[in-house]
Subunit: 366 residues, 2 copies
């Protein structure tokens, strides 16, 4: 696989498309983030990409992300100074400068936000994140496995108001961050999980920026050659994490139940097969797809990835953009090994989402 050395403007489309896929239905469509990242790179230069193993053990690593409803993030269209400001507020609180920026999730808009922060602050960005996908809650990261606290956490808005949260548990920090974000108009910029280089080495999911780019490229290359979905699957099989992958279903959307609950987009999507006489598929989501069932039988389940793409172009389609009658392919892939560990399943396993089933790796499900 190709590892990124700098993030240049011409990489953004591929990374954004790959991250839309890794968003596993959530994370928001990274268009606005891509524009902000493009603008930041043009103004401040392309940020250097640093591999986890090259980090100094004592380096100060700060994350960067946006929190809230993706559709609102789009509307508010932060200028980017609020994204960098969250990192600066956290630096001020901790009395040290960040040595590098770490993405929290590699799904959707939050693949782009740390690029904006890194470019604007003149810092390198780490080729890694805390899940190699997207998740709906702040504490659902591999860092939590290592007992790393989400706080102190800084939140900012486009008026450059700021909030610093310090709590005993990351779950509680998530709750405060959510009410503050709602008061900020349903979107905020955050920097949290301040940690040392050695902690990133132990707990981060590595190379995920490069992997997002590879995924985006494989879809694009498939359009120019054989077939976007085949090209995507071939690439996924070559990766260290997503190699257990398959098309779970090829169908059209026949029913969609979706509601906003506690700020999440929660619901079910039903699909009927386009060819043949196979049972229909039902996918449950809370921002991200959580479990795909066929005839009541689980085909893939969180934290493994369930992703939807256009059946012709391979374009990733987030759950919030799924429409009745749409023809899509549902792709399931394995998650990174650390994401499937017993400790990880206590943080973001199926039961944490109210699903009455244990995690089973996708390669063990027919």
């Amino acid at each position: 696989m190709t590892k990124l050395k700098y993030i240049k403007s011409e990489n953004l489309e591929d990374i954004a498309r790959g991250a839309a896929f890794l968003g596993a239905g959530g994370g928001g469509y990274p268009l606005i983030g891509r524009l902000l990242a493009k603008q930041a790179i043009e103004e401040f230069g392309p940020p250097k990409v640093i591999q986890v193993d090259d980090l100094d053990d004592d380096a100060n690593i700060f994350s960067s992300a946006m929190l809230g409803a993706p559709s609102i993030m789009l509307e508010k269209a932060a200028g980017g100074d609020d994204i960098a400001y969250a990192v600066e507020i956290l630096e001020k609180r901790l009395g040290c400068r960040a040595d590098a920026i770490l993405p929290m999730e590699m799904g959707g808009i939050n693949s782009m936000v740390p690029i904006v922060a890194a470019a604007r602050l003149g810092l390198p960005i780490i080729d890694a994140d805390g899940m190699g996908r997207a998740f709906p809650e702040l504490d659902m990261v591999t860092f939590t496995i290592g007992g790393i606290s989400a706080t102190p956490m800084a939140l900012t808005n486009e008026h450059l108001d700021s909030i610093i949260i310090e709590t005993k548990t990351s779950k509680k920090a998530e709750q405060f961050a959510r009410v503050v974000t709602t008061e900020m108009g349903a979107a905020s910029c955050i920097s949290c999980y301040p940690m040392k280089g050695r902690q990133v080495k132990e707990y981060a999911v590595k190379e995920t920026l490069s992997l997002a780019m590879g995924i985006g490229q494989s879809i694009q290359q498939g359009r120019e050659g054989m077939n976007p979905v085949d090209s995507l699957l071939a690439y996924l099989r070559s990766t260290p994490y997503y190699n257990q992958c398959k098309v779970l279903f090829d169908g059209k959307v026949t029913d969609l139940k979706r509601e906003i609950s506690h700020g999440w987009s929660v619901g079910h999507c039903f699909l009927e097969a386009i060819e043949g006489d196979q049972p229909h598929m039902e996918i449950m989501f809370q921002n991200e797809y959580l479990v795909a069932r066929q005839d009541g039988k689980i085909r893939a389940i969180v934290p493994d990835l369930i992703c939807t793409v256009d059946r012709e172009t391979g374009e990733p389609i987030p759950a919030e953009q799924i429409r009745y009658g749409q023809r899509i392919k549902v792709i399931g892939t394995s998650a990174a090994p650390i994401m499937r560990s017993p400790e990880a399943l206590k943080i973001f396993g199926p039961r944490l989402f109210g699903i009455d089933a244990d995690f089973t790796p996708i390669e063990e499900l027919d």
Copy 2:
């Protein structure tokens, strides 16, 4: 008037009773605060009381208060370490120690909270506050007249979680503080309006701790002598701020409309005269009493104080403890001159509470 030199356990009952009167219907009944203050004084010794004019111009002054629903504050019964912790968090943020603690309001429970902070932190408490009464919103203080920002503001809870808020306007800080307080279970401890001694000298309402004690004493002395309400009125007439005072009504509660709206207790109280054939009185409140009307005519209006006391014992009765059939006297008094200035009326004049009337001093109303 007698000026406090130390706050001793034996002063607390008088101060608390006086502050319940100055709460003007709001601020909560200071019982639990009094117990916390008693405990803190017994454990850490009586805090020294410092007069505003004796402050060093460059002294660092931090306020201390609780925010939220008084009934919840009672239920949660903070241990007191969270009260002091809010000040400590703000000290840490600003990189300086507090030289003295300043009460924000002299109404209800928030007369006691800064005593707890001062005792536990071994700091003097200033004989002053930001209004000489109680008000429902954080930005409704004389400090706002001087353009002093409410932020950085620290909030803490009984788990010692902490939040630091920094905003462009104190109004916005109030909004964030309110949602965070709700998430904390409807009560929080705060420290905000960090300022210098010279700013306290210019904008604080002076000697209000001593005045609260004097008011409490006068009611108690009246019970042992002539009449509690007459004794109270005689004392008020001797004070620098509350000297324009009168019994606005002597009646019984015939109707009460009260609802919780945005965390405030909002409503109307109707009174019928006990003797004679005079028109009934209607008092509107938002935590605190805002306007008292008789036959549609305004008898007293915010920021002047409208207070209710038991007609026999003179005991101050907060609006939330008013009951149908209760026999009370409604007392109106002037507010401190700075509270009646044009600049002040832009912050907490009648129109800021949605009342379609201008402020008229109580001495100009029949």
